[in-house]
C-alpha cells in the first residue's frame, strides 16, 4: 500500500526567532547563540532569525510577527520590544496554531489575562539582576552617598525593571538618589548626562547604568571631568567591550544574562511544546553578577 499523505516524512519544524534591536550587542549575541544551536541540531529544526532596526520601532516587530504567521512557521520565540503592544499579535499567532515562547522581556501579566492568553516565559529577572549589581556597589559606598541612575529608553520594560532594581538596592542601603535620567541606551547621550551631573553634583559618588554602552559613556565623562576613580560606575549586560574596564576597576560590576543561552532556552522550549503539545511553566534564567577579578575592597 502506498504511503498516504499523513505518513509522508514530517518536514522539519521551522522556528522563528524574533528579537529586539539587532543594533544591540545583547541581541546579536542571542542570535549567534541561536544560530550555533541550530547548526548543532540542523536535523531537528530550521531557524528564521529576525530583529528590528530600532528598538523604539515596535510596529516593525509586530509586522515581523504577522509576517511569520503568514510564513506559517511552526513556532515563534519572541523577545518583545514592548511588553503590552506585542501581546495581541502573539495571541493571534497562538490562535493560528503556532507555538509561542516569550523570552527576555516578559509580557504584561494584566494584558495576558485580559486576552486570556497563556504564553510561557523563559528569561532573566532584570530587576533581581540590577538589585544584585546595586547591592555590590553599595558595599563600596557609605550610607547617604549621592548616586545617579542612567535609565534606558524611557518605556523599555527591561530598562524600567533595571531602574527599579537599582532603586531597590540603593534605598535598602540608604543611598541618596540625586537624579535618574534616560541615556537612551547610548554612549554619547549617557556621556552628556553624566558630564552635566558630575559638574552639578560634586558630591556624586556612583553612577548606575542600565546597560554597558551607557557605562562606557559615563566612564569617559568622569575621566574628562577628572573624577576617574572617585565616582564608581556599574553597568549591565557584560558586553565584551567592558571586560578591560572591569579588570582595571573603572567599572565596578555588571550583570551577565547569558544572552547566548537565552534564545537557546526559548527554542528548546518551543521544540518541546511542538513535541508534547503542552504548555510548560515559566522558567527563570540565571543572571550572574560580574565583578572585577581579585578581592573586593572593604567599605
Amino acid at each position: 500500500q502506498p504511503a498516504g499523505p499523513s505518513e509522508r516524512a514530517e518536514p522539519k519544524p521551522r522556528v522563528a526567532l524574533i528579537m529586539k534591536s539587532l543594533a544591540n550587542e545583547f541581541f546579536l549575541t542571542m542570535e549567534n547563540g541561536a544560530r550555533a544551536h541550530q547548526r548543532a541540531h540542523a536535523d531537528q529544526y530550521d531557524l528564521l532569525a529576525n530583529g528590528i532596526k530600532d528598538e523604539l520601532d515596535v510596529s516593525k516587530q509586530i509586522d515581523l510577527v504577522e509576517q511569520m504567521i503568514a510564513q506559517k512557521v511552526d513556532a515563534i520565540v519572541i523577545a518583545p520590544a514592548d511588553s503590552k503592544a506585542l501581546v495581541a499579535v502573539a495571541k493571534k499567532a497562538q490562535d493560528a496554531g503556532i507555538a509561542v515562547v516569550n523570552i527576555d522581556n516578559q509580557f504584561d501579566a494584566q494584558v495576558l489575562a485580559d486576552k486570556q492568553a497563556r504564553i510561557p516565559f523563559v528569561g532573566p529577572d532584570n530587576r533581581k539582576g540590577a538589585r544584585r549589581v546595586g547591592e555590590h556597589l553599595a558595599k563600596h559606598l557609605r550610607s547617604g552617598d549621592a548616586v545617579a541612575i542612567l535609565e534606558g529608553a524611557p518605556n523599555a520594560f527591561n530598562g524600567i525593571q533595571r531602574r527599579l532594581g537599582f532603586e531597590d538596592a540603593m534605598k535598602a542601603a540608604g543611598m541618596n538618589i540625586i537624579s535618574s535620567q534616560s541615556g537612551y541606551w547610548e554612549t554619547d547621550k549617557a556621556n552628556q548626562v553624566v558630564a552635566a551631573l558630575a559638574g552639578e553634583h560634586p558630591e556624586l559618588k556612583a553612577v548606575l547604568c542600565a546597560n554597558d554602552s551607557m557605562a562606557l559613556g559615563a566612564v569617559a565623562a568622569l575621566r574628562a571631568a577628572g573624577k576617574a576613580g572617585q565616582v564608581r560606575v556599574v553597568g549591565y549586560d557584560n558586553i565584551s567591550a567592558v571586560q578591560n574596564l572591569l579588570r582595571e576597576g573603572r567599572i565596578l560590576a555588571t550583570a551577565d544574562q547569558h544572552a547566548d543561552q537565552l534564545a537557546v532556552f526559548g527554542i528548546e522550549y518551543a521544540l518541546e511544546m511542538l513535541r508534547t503539545r503542552g504548555t510548560p511553566a515559566d522558567r527563570e534564567t540565571p543572571v550572574d553578577l560580574v565583578t572585577a577579578p581579585g578581592p573586593s575592597p572593604q567599605p
Binding site: L48, S59, I62, K84, P154
Partner: protein, 327 residues
Amino acid sequence: MNDTASHAHGRIAAGRRWLADYLGLGLALALLVLVFSLSTRHFFSLTTFQTIANQIPSAILIATGMTYVLLIAGIDLSVGSVLGLCTAVVGVGLAQGHWPAPLAILAGLAAGLAAGAFNGLVSIRWNLPPFIVTLGMLEIARGGAHFLTRSQTQYVGSALAPIVETHLLGLSLPFLLALAVVLGSQWILTRTVFGRYLVAIGTNEEAVRLSGIDPRPIKIAVYLYSGLLVALAAVIDTARFESANPNAGSGFELQAIAAVVIGGTSLMGGRGSVVSSFFGVLIIAVLNTGLAAVGARDETKRLVTGLVIVAAVIVDQYRHRWSQTKP
C-alpha cells in the same frame, strides 16, 4: 514627463503617460516579488499579500500626506512623532479616561490636526523653512506623547477592535480606507482646482501669489491634511496593536519620504503622484517582508534597503528622461 499631477487630462497621450508613470514601478515590484518567491518557500501566497495589505494602511496614509506636502515644496519631519502623540492621546483616553471609542478617536484626530496646524501656521506666519519647523515639532510631539502616557504603553484591549476586524472581500477596513484615501487624493490632485493649486504652488509659489491667489491657506490645508492622515494612521495602529506606545512611529519620517521619493515625487515640489507613492510604500513593504522571510541579517537588510532607495531614484531619473525625450 512622469508627472501625473500636472497633466493627467490629455485623453490622447494618457495611455502612454500611464505606462511611463507606473510601468517602472510595477516592474520593480514584480521583480522583487519574483526574487523573494524564488528564494523562499512560502513567500508567494495569498497570506503574504493579505499580511502586507494588513500592515501598510498607516504607511500609505502617511505617505499620501507626505506626497501633498512635498508637492507644495514643503517637508514634514514630524509625522513619526505626531503618530506617537495621536496614539498616546487615543490610548490614554481609552485606558486612563475610559472614554467611549468615538470620543477617543476624535481626540486623536484633533491632536493630529493641531500638530498640522502648528506646522502650517508657524512656518507661514514667520516664513520659516518647514524643515526646521517640523523638526521642532518632531521633538515637541514626542515629548508630548511621553508626557501624556508617562512613558508607559497604554493597553486599550478590544475597544477599537471593530476597526481592524471589519473585512470586505478579504480586505480589512483600514486597507480599504487607505485605498480610498489614495484614490481620492489622486483625484483631487489631478482633477480639482485645489489639486492644480498644489502643483502650482510647488512649481512657482511667487507666480501663484502674483496671480491673485493666496497660497497660505492652501499650504496650511496641506499640513492639516497631513496631520489628519497621520492621526488616522495612529488610530489604525492603536487598533491593530490594541495598545498605544509613546515611541510609536520613531523614524517614520525618513521612511515615508523614501517611499514617496521612490514613487517619483520630487523633493523640489510641483511634481508627484499619490498613486506612485502607494507603489513606493508597496515596494518598501515587499522588501521588508521578503528580507524577513529570507531571514536576512540586519546589516544586510540595511545595505539592501539603502541600495534600493538609491537605485530606485536612479531608475526614476532614466524613466523620466525616456518619457521626456519622446513627448
